[in-house]
């Protein structure tokens, strides 16, 4: 295995007596697409929030390229190169698509406190914005206010914004959630493209997406790691079938939406 980009040790989060994340160890190796799966309430999003410090871990350590980043704040972690997306589409709704991306580029550009400068000074970033928009097929919507974009396009825009940060590690929280099958295929292609030269950790409900994309899978249940391995190892694991598919589950249906159906069945 190649060296780990991100490592979490004994990661634990307790909410007044309830342990949402219980002693989780994670090892994300460089260049991989790693999936975090599990039934609703397994603590996947909480793990994301802990890794990006949107929540403070109760115990545990987070290492990025071997460096302890546990004490850093969210914004500092993002600047280090760990950029996350959100479960619900995270865009700036009343800015144009181009402006959305430009906000991400401004982090590195360093004029973000310049309240005396003309807004036109940002035009020099527009070329890069257009490239990024083109890479997700949104060039023609550059000047459209984001709130008017269709859901799938918002998610594509969000991905492009995230990529504008040139992240080393991309954390995607359910990138295909709430999408029709056509959009799902597009997102799968986008994620695959985005993953070139990068490491990706994603929470995903859609097992067919996971099987297509991911090199390695960690299954969470009730806050703890239940199993880990590639898709075949994990899907063959009886414990995983038990919690994820429900004991009556007879094999993988594979089609879009099957995963969430199964999760409901398991509860």
């Amino acid at each position: 295995m190649t060296r780990p980009v991100l490592e979490a040790r004994n990661l634990t989060k307790e909410f007044s007596g309830f342990t949402a994340v219980d002693d989780v160890d994670l090892l994300i190796s460089e260049g991989s697409i790693h999936a975090l799966i599990g039934p609703n309430g397994a603590g996947k999003t909480t793990v994301f929030n802990l890794l990006t410090k949107f929540l403070q871990p109760t115990r545990g350590q987070i290492l990025f390229h071997g460096e302890d980043i546990t004490p850093l704040k969210s914004a500092a972690i993002a600047r280090k190169g760990i950029v996350r997306s959100f479960q619900i589409s995270a865009v700036f709704p009343h800015m144009t698509a181009l402006e959305n991306i430009r906000v991400a580029l401004q982090t590195a550009e360093g004029s973000s406190y310049s309240f005396w400068k003309s807004g036109n000074s940002l035009h020099k970033l527009n070329e890069r914005c257009m490239e990024l928009l083109e890479s997700v097929g949104l060039a023609e919507f550059a000047n459209t206010t984001t709130v008017e974009l269709a859901y799938g396009r918002k998610r594509a825009l969000e991905l492009a914004t995230t990529l504008a940060m040139e992240p080393q590690l991309l954390l995607l929280d359910e990138p295909t959630q709430g999408m029709g099958s056509e959009d799902v295929d597009r997102v799968v292609a986008l994620v695959r493209k985005a993953a070139q030269g990068r490491t990706v950790l994603m929470v995903e409900h859609n097992l067919s997406v996971v099987s297509k994309l991911c090199d390695r899978i960690t299954v969470l249940a009730q806050g703890a790691v239940l199993a880990e391995g590639d898709y075949h190892t994990v899907s063959a694991d009886p414990r995983v079938r038990e919690v994820y598919m429900g004991s009556a589950g007879s094999g993988e249906r594979g089609s879009q939406g099957a995963a969430s159906d199964n999760v409901e069945a398991a509860q």
Binding site: H94, M130, E134
Partner: protein, 331 residues
């Protein structure tokens, strides 16, 4: 779908559109400027100055409320601090020229703004409003208790003095043009801030704060800067007001004043540049007109009614409503 869309063309269109918008802005600014230059020959200058001071106060407040999304309920503290500091210095330091007194008042309000910001910025929504209200009440009690403010009686007879030691400000027309210059400078500054690279980040924070954090922005610092600039401009408004009326009183520090500036901003249109100016003009006029007539005891309930009506029916205020109308009919 991808029918020969050339990114370069789109980009060109965007820049072109920006230029048109800039030109429109310039035109509106020009018309406004002409009106304001001519106004003192038609209306009473002191009344106009009152409008300008409140308009500046509301513009300052709107930078924080309308453009950053932070509802401060303590902006009276900055207005009053500016006013009292300038009033005290001009009354007690002989030889101090007016502009230095105003600068000192503004600086004091700026520092107070920094203190407020550091104590309140981590709170969200209603909690932020409550912390700023509590801090402003502390400031109010300080002014009530202090000797130098004259307590309930207020601070009277503040000399207007001479601008740069040269221009006599006792003359209402001189005073008016001085207030106008300061107002225009501040208005243009806020216009610049809103469209600046920094303004883009404020917009982003207002629209989706967690996302701004995840893009690497230390949002607290951006908010603190906005708060401090807003407090500084509010302090400047207070300083000017105390010079214009030669009076600083507890009214300016009272939480009613914090409420009134919210009213002005909402009625005029929050998050628009012109909104707070229109709102301040509207509210000051209504208050004046009503206080002259048989309805003088009904000023507060009537303003309250207008407030309710705005919040329920005209969320985007007067300017917002006009903008929508123009967009609907002329495109």
């Amino acid at each position: 779908m991808n029918q020969s869309v050339n990114p370069a063309d789109i980009h060109k269109a965007i820049v072109e559109q920006q230029k048109i918008q800039d030109r429109k802005k310039l035109m509106v600014n020009g018309v406004l400027l002409l009106l304001l230059l001519a106004a003192p020959f038609v209306m009473y200058p002191v009344f106009l100055m009152k409008i300008l001071c409140f308009a500046l106060f509301a513009v300052a407040f709107n930078l924080l409320f309308g453009f950053t999304g932070l509802l401060s309920f303590g902006h009276a503290a900055f207005l009053a601090t500016g006013g009292y500091t300038t009033g005290y210095l001009l009354s007690n330091v002989s030889g101090l020229t007016t502009e230095l007194g105003i600068i000192a008042g503004t600086a004091t309000a700026t520092l107070l703004g920094l203190a407020f910001a550091l104590l309140s910025i981590r709170r969200q929504g209603i909690y932020f409003a409550m912390v700023t209200l509590a801090l402003a009440q502390l400031v109010f009690f300080f002014f009530v208790q202090s000797e130098f403010t004259g307590g309930e009686d207020g601070m009277h007879g503040i000399p207007r003095g001479e601008l740069f030691g040269l221009i006599n400000l006792e003359d209402n027309l001189n005073m008016y043009y001085f207030v106008l210059v300061v107002f225009i400078a501040c208005y243009l500054l806020v216009q610049r801030i809103v469209s600046s690279p920094y303004g883009q980040i404020l917009k982003a924070i207002k629209q989706n704060e967690p996302r701004a954090v995840s893009l690497g922005y230390n949002v607290d610092r951006y908010k603190i800067l906005a708060f401090v600039i807003s407090a500084a401009l509010a302090g400047l408004a207070g300083s000017m007001k105390s010079v214009v009326f030669q009076l600083a009183s507890l009214n300016d520090a009272h939480w009613h004043m914090s409420g009134e500036v919210i009213l002005m901003t909402l009625v005029g249109g929050m998050g628009t540049l012109l909104g707070p100016v229109v709102g301040a003009t509207f509210v000051v006029n209504i208050e004046y007109q009503l206080s002259q007539g048989p309805l003088r005891d009904w000023v507060d309930p009537i303003l309250g009614g207008i407030f309710v009506l705005t919040v329920l029916a005209f969320r985007s205020g007067i300017v917002g409503a006009i903008e929508t109308l123009v967009k609907r009919n002329f495109r």
